[in-house]
Amino acid sequence: MKIIGVTACIAGIAHTYMAQAAIEKEAKKQGHECKIETQGSMGNENELEEHEIEAADVVIIGADINVEGIERFDDKVVYKTTVSECVSEPEKVIAEAIKLIG
């Protein structure tokens, strides 16, 4: 499975990056390809390329604020959740996202 996503928390200092690491670690453990863009205090990093969005099976949005460029995912299957869910329960988040593709 190819999983992509975006994480963004209010302060953009810590939890955005914890969420990214938690999702990427869990996805890797399950044998998925995964790339998570962070929208935090340093701006947007690890930005998703057009071809990566194209190839993705599912998009995870873990955000407590509005995500920039959300329209990039208009044609994709998107699972929306919070930053805290991504950090605390990455396994559940990935399971729910995959459930959406059926």
Partner: protein
């Protein structure tokens, strides 16, 4: 440096979350990282009220992003006995302070890297088990 040996407490013992935040702020004040202690404390507590800063992994990261911070910092406490931080048990606390207008990418990068590493079980074990402040400082210098 974002952290130094005076911003590290290996033997933290706190009555509760408020007490922990208060003591860590005091450490930061002594190191001249913040201007007004009360205003900074309120900023941290306001953030804490929006959502708990402990999301598992035995870690809490209370933080304040406001202009009472004169120099970005991390103050760290290790607890011999775990304590409750809202509904989660914590053994490591990192209080983070960043000026509101900061575009200081060097410090923000260190904080982002610290956050990512906290997900890693081995990294947390090293922090929990070490008795050597220099080892902690070395980890930070590698971010």
């Amino acid at each position: 440096m974002i952290i130094n040996e005076k911003l590290i407490d290996f033997y933290g013992k706190f009555k509760n979350k408020e007490d922990a935040i208060h003591q860590l702020i005091t450490m930061a004040k002594i190191e001249n990282r913040i201007k007004d202690v009360t205003i900074f404390y309120e900023a941290v507590m306001k953030r804490e009220a929006e959502a708990s800063t402990s999301l598992g992994y035995s870690v809490a990261i209370p933080h304040g992003r406001c202009d009472e911070v004169s120099e970005p910092f991390v103050a760290m406490a290790k607890l011999k006995e775990p304590m409750m931080w809202n509904d989660k048990e914590v053994r490591l606390i990192f209080l983070i302070g960043v000026p509101k207008s900061s575009s200081d990418n060097l410090h923000l990068k260190i904080l982002a890297n610290l956050s990512k590493h906290l997900i890693d079980d081995t990294f947390r074990e090293v922090l929990l088990e070490t008795e050597d402040v220099q080892e902690v400082l070395k980890l930070f210098s590698e971010f």
